[in-house]
Symmetry: C2
Subunit: 213 residues, 2 copies
């Protein structure tokens, strides 16, 4: 009984995701589903990439949070168009939340849409939100074993950003082990070593983002 | 329809949690539900507290992971009894998983049971697993805004461990803002500033654990 209901919810979500994907494609908009654990640096990555690409690529952000609009405030201060979704407790974004958020945007005026998901390394991976690419933000302070322990999200990622690389000297993080586990699980995803705090590696990441728009 | 099913699942879980709580109480076992985001340092905190208390308090650990038994291996190398639960994708532990895990332990031989939940700052807070206390592990690398953004878990915590305090000079973490937001939301939970890496603050945390056994 429970499983049937879950399947029905997922099927309904997949239909909405398909509608969203078609609507974005019809308007020539690439969307990136930005996922990762709380505090990995999702908002910081969006801030950095926005700052690099703002003169070339018209962008908007859909900001997903359980509560508050703290991140939306940070982003809107940079001059980016932001739509806030508060899930009110739900641990992930889904098609039913993204569809009205997209309707409130002028899609003809943008080419790139960031969707910052709820901070959670598990549940968001299970819900297609009609994105073009899934981008996983992780950080050296989380530990190198996360690829093995949270395999679904690492497997589905189209790109992996390893943030807080400036903290490498101060934490027990085995970079070779991280890269080798990720190469086994998901050999095609590019990995970007970045530090949003000191600006390291952002150019390479921004180039990749530009290449998928 | 969906909500009804969810309510039924939660009600079934609450019954199991009640059974677990009664069984643990009948055996004089205190259990701590250790929660936090992936990489916050849940396993490290258990390792540190175990090392401090092992001569005084007989302990066991139930280790919850989506996949792998990496953390169970780390803990069993210290000589602690560990039962591994692999959820196979589920984003939190529930009563149905804890009950058989507890049945496999000799409860008369222990006084303290750590239950390390799946790394997730959202979903585990919603499921009572019959624990005596909820202990939330967070870290300075996650940012001071997490109290406001993930309020349920911070509100329900009986104690909050702020880990990786040794990294404070290298991150943008406003300690006063963190403490003041937590005091507003949950004035009764003690906060322990610790660094598992350098051993700071572990004595105070271990004293608190001992006081609730």
């Amino acid at each position: 009984m429970e499983i049937k209901v879950v399947e029905r919810v997922l099927a309904a979500n997949d239909l909405l995701a398909k509608e969203i994907r078609e609507l974005l494609a019809a308007n020539g908009v690439t969307s990136l589903n930005i996922m990762g654990t709380p505090g990995a640096g999702k908002t910081s990555v969006i801030e950095q990439v926005f700052s690099r690409l703002k003169s070339d690529v018209p962008m908007a952000v859909i900001e997903g949070d359980i509560a508050t609009s703290l991140d939306a405030k940070r982003l809107s201060e940079l001059g980016v168009i932001v739509v806030q979704i508060n899930t009110g407790g739900q641990c992930h974004l889904d098609g039913g939340m993204i569809k009205p958020a997209i309707s409130s945007l002028d899609l003809s005026a943008i080419r790139l849409l960031f969707v910052e998901n709820v901070g959670n390394l598990v549940c968001p991976a299970e819900f297609d939100i009609g994105e073009s690419k899934k981008v996983l933000i992780t950080s050296v302070t989380e530990g190198h074993d996360k690829v093995q322990k949270y395999p679904l999200m690492f497997r589905l990622a189209d790109a992996v950003v390893l943030n807080k690389i400036d903290l490498l000297p101060y934490v027990n993080f085995d970079l070779d082990s991280f890269r080798s586990c990720l190469a086994d699980l998901n050999p095609n995803a590019p990995i970007f070593d970045v530090s949003c705090r000191v600006g390291e590696g952002i150019s390479e990441l921004a180039e990749w983002v530009k290449s998928v728009v």
